[in-house]
């Protein structure tokens, strides 16, 4: 199981306010799939509109990255810049 931490705003929309959710996944692709299955709309929302930070590294387009029980995973808005 991997622990995925959502912002409180995202949690209110998709997980009844629960900011930490656990899903079975070995990589980000599986994580998205599991999140979508458990919380309809969430996996899709993250893939299209959000970034994921794994162990402090913000990834705008994560997909194949490995995740483990020890991974610190946060879901964030996309970040660009000027």
């Amino acid at each position: 199981m991997v622990k995925v931490t959502l912002s409180s705003g995202t949690a209110q929309q998709f997980t009844n306010g629960v900011t930490e959710v656990n899903v079975e996944a070995k990589n980000v692709r599986q994580m998205f799939k599991a999140l979508e299955a458990n919380f309809p709309g969430l996996g899709e929302e993250i893939q299209t509109s959000m970034s994921v930070a794994i162990d402090g590294v913000i990834l705008p387009d994560p997909f194949l990255e490995e995740v483990t029980e020890a991974s610190e995973i946060f879901v964030l808005p996309k970040i660009g810049g000027g």
């Binding site: 209110q12 913000i58 705008p60 946060f74 879901v75 964030l76 660009g80 810049g81 000027g82």
Partner: protein
């Protein structure tokens, strides 16, 4: 810059920029400089109303004018899908982008394009534009962000329902989205505080103020292929957006990046480019379009104006126990303000256990917001850094000390969730405190302000090619438009990696047919991400050079190492061979397998967060309210300064833009929602004579994920000035204004109220 041990031969030197001579002698080609045979000139017709329904557009008189080659309206443009895409600081929607490029049903701000013409001369185009008759139904408008969220405010989009809330609202409103971040329990944090300060702040929208207006030349051939030459922060972005908007395959569009006279985020989207392509298609000729300065103000995006509440609590010894922010950011006519980054960065410089940030993205009848250096961060961090200053003042604690005792360090969890790796915030505070500036006494009516800032920095897609020419010179190709001297930085990193003379390398920013996809030049990403691609491409070329030497020496490639620009035997066991230089290997490349090159196509990860701390001294004239910036020092962690001169330039430029935001810049609208100061005479940006030299101090805490430690520098320096200036003015006057800009009337009113 701090004295660093000499580690590199080229990285960290102040080499002459490869594009410098062309730029100072007027040879460099900017967007408006290209002229093609048969080229015609384009002109945009813009809405005179802040909010109006377009009933009809009659183009017949314009089309009949001698010399007119094409007239277009939204009817000539495919109806775009409602499809989100990442652009700059926000997700955008192609339906919105299409409407921003050319209004279809409603004009949502004064200056929005509603039609365009092309004609043999600019004068004829202007006459034709005046002959286009647009019949409008004028609608009530709203500009101010807090007015726009009122129940009875005119609603811009009757199909827009606030996102980020559950259940989905049943009534359309101007609030496009809500974001929220929380860590711990903010209320519990306030309960534990000895002092709680809550303040409301406002900031005005400001324009990026790039010197070069938007400009493009587009040429569509009869077979449907398109050449575009334009001023842009991302020619791949231009290709992608035009492809989507006009339903043209990407492979048929070649975009060449002109030299660019500033962008600062404002050129991370398209305005004229799709129009020029449509006019070229209809004219059968190349079309050039340029914006006037007035059009830049009326028709292109600024950053958000904002209103916010900031609340922070601290113990009497200065430990911050709780923090709360509520942010309302204008998005302009379509959703997509930088409220997300504003919310994430607000408290990021601090190690806080109890924090909550709520943000709202609000549409109103003004230009669609587009990125501006560190989008959103200057706004939210202005409020936070003002309250931190007030906490320090009330508690009798040095303003740098309170930041240091609460400042983020390696392992700190930011309010937006991520734990920082190696960061250099404390080092910027230490460097600021050690300056002679911070210790210098002040005189009457003078004040000193301190503020800090944080930005994430980003990576993203970049490519690079290293081609070793027959004579040993090197052609370096990449596709990130050079705004701040990046060609020099790329060449320095290549020279360092290859072990060759910097002057042997010619870097080029090539067109979209000549390299792979690059994300825009923005987010302080190019030196990090494209630099990483250059290093990888250089290493690939080195691998090939080693292989060629191995062939010549008839040894295994593992027996060849690359040192100081030469192939050498890895040990005496390999054999007794004279080292071969890159030039010697290049000379015989035809005999060892042909041309030698290295390429890298990457999606760079691991951008290093960056922090800065600024010190500002001002003198306030109590009779006129005029603020003079006496002295300014900006300290920033660059990770590694590849070219210190250009890093200092970024720091100085960002600081100046932030000072302008703090003191002068604002949009002034009349009662009809029309802009009254669409020019640099009335929209006052700081010029060289207004300011002292900005002293830039570079701190280097290397980013471990980059081969040379680069973090990126362009975003951070615009963040601290808003609060640094405001805090200095508060110290000079004894009045906390809590609104920007601090123009003379505002200062005088504050001083009078205090009396």
């Amino acid at each position: 810059m701090n004295e660093q041990p000499k580690q590199f031969k080229w990285v960290g030197t102040r080499a002459i920029r490869p594009d410098g001579v062309d730029k100072v002698t007027g040879r460099a080609m900017y967007g408006a400089d290209l002229s093609l045979p048969g080229m015609v000139e384009g002109k945009v017709v813009r809405s005179p109303h802040a909010h109006a329904r377009i009933i009809s557009i009659d183009t017949s008189k314009a089309e009949a004018l001698n010399g007119v080659t094409a007239v277009i309206t939204a009817a000539d443009m495919p109806v775009a899908d409602s499809k989100p895409v990442a652009s700059g600081e926000a997700m955008i929607n192609f339906k919105d982008l299409a409407n921003n490029v050319l209004a279809r049903e409603k004009a949502l701000y004064e200056g929005q394009a509603v039609a365009a013409v092309a004609a043999k001369t600019a004068d004829i185009a202007e006459q034709a534009a005046a002959l286009i008759v647009v019949n409008y139904e004028v609608l009530p408008h709203v500009i101010d962000v807090m007015e726009a969220i009122k129940e009875d405010a005119p609603v811009l989009h009757d199909d827009m329902f606030t996102g980020g809330v559950k259940p989905k609202p049943e009534k359309a409103s101007n609030v496009a989205n809500r974001v929220e971040f929380a860590l711990g329990d903010a209320d519990a944090g306030f309960a534990a505080a000895d002092l709680v300060i809550e303040r409301q702040f406002t900031t005005e929208p400001v324009h990026q103020g790039y010197i070069e207006p938007h400009a493009v030349v587009a040429d569509m051939n009869p077979d449907g292929k398109v050449d575009v030459f334009c001023s842009s922060q991302g020619h791949f972005m231009v290709r992608a957006f035009c492809s989507q908007l006009l339903h043209i395959e990407m492979s048929k569009i070649k975009v060449t990046a002109a030299e660019i006279g500033g962008g600062f985020g404002g050129k991370t989207t398209v305005y004229l480019e799709p129009l020029a392509i449509m006019l070229s298609r209809k004219s059968g000729r190349p079309v050039r379009m340029t914006m006037s300065r007035e059009e830049v103000f009326r028709g292109s995006g600024a950053t958000s104006g904002a209103a916010m509440t900031i609340k922070m609590g601290a113990t009497k010894d200065g430990k911050i126990t709780g923090a709360y922010a509520e942010l309302y950011l204008q998005a302009g006519a379509f959703p997509g303000s930088p409220v997300g980054p504003a919310a994430m960065t607000a408290f990021a410089p601090y190690d806080l256990a109890n924090v909550k940030v709520v943000g709202f993205d609000v549409v109103s009848n003004r230009q669609k917001v587009v990125a501006y250096r560190a989008p959103g961060a200057p706004i939210s961090e202005y409020g936070v850094e003002s309250v931190v200053d007030e906490l320090a003042s009330e508690l009798g604690i040095d303003p740098i000390e309170i930041r240091s005792m609460n400042g983020a360090k390696e392992g700190t969890q930011a309010a937006y969730g991520v734990k920082f790796g190696t960061i250099g915030f404390q080092e910027t505070l230490d460097a600021a405190k050690a300056t002679e500036h911070f210790k210098t006494p002040l005189g009457p009516n003078q004040g000193r302000g301190v503020a800090s800032g944080f930005w994430f920095n980003i990576g993203g897609e970049s490519c690079a090619g290293i081609r070793i020419n027959e004579d040993g010179s090197i052609s370096l190709t990449e596709g990130s438009p050079d705004i701040g001297g990046s060609r020099a930085s790329m060449a320095l990193m290549a020279a360092e990696t290859l072990g060759v003379d910097y002057n042997k390398i010619k870097p080029s920013v090539v067109d979209t047919d000549a390299t792979g996809y690059h994300f825009v030049t923005g987010g302080s990403r190019v030196t990090f991400a494209t630099g990483m691609a250059v290093v990888e491409a250089s290493k690939a070329a080195i691998d090939e050079l080693r292989a060629r030497a191995a062939q010549i020496w008839d040894v295994d490639v593992e027996g060849v190492v690359w040192e100081d620009g030469h192939a050498k035997p890895a040990s005496t066991n390999v054999g007794d061979f004279e080292p071969m230089s890159l030039a010697e290997l290049a000379k015989v490349a035809n005999k060892t397998g042909g041309p030698i090159s290295g390429h890298a196509d990457i999606n760079a990860k691991g951008a290093g967060p960056a922090f800065g701390t600024h010190i500002c001294d001002v003198e306030v004239d109590p009779d006129t309210g005029h603020v003079t910036v006496l002295r300014y020092t900006a300290v920033q962690d660059a990770g590694r300064a590849i070219h210190p001169g250009y890093v200092e330039g970024q720091i100085q430029g960002g600081a100046v833009q932030g000072i302008g935001w703090a003191l002068n810049e604002e949009y002034i609208y009349d009662e009809n929602g029309c802009l009254e100061n669409a020019g640099f005479l009335d929209y006052r940006v700081p010029v060289a004579s207004d300011l002292p030299m900005i002293d830039a101090i570079i701190v280097e805490v290397p980013n471990p994920t980059h081969p040379f430690g680069v973090r990126g520098v362009g975003e951070v320096p615009i963040i601290p000035p808003l609060a640094a200036v405001s805090n200095a003015v508060a110290a000079a006057t004894g009045v906390r204004f809590n609104r920007l800009p601090l123009s003379p009337p505002t200062i005088l009113a504050g001083i009078a109220a205090k009396k």
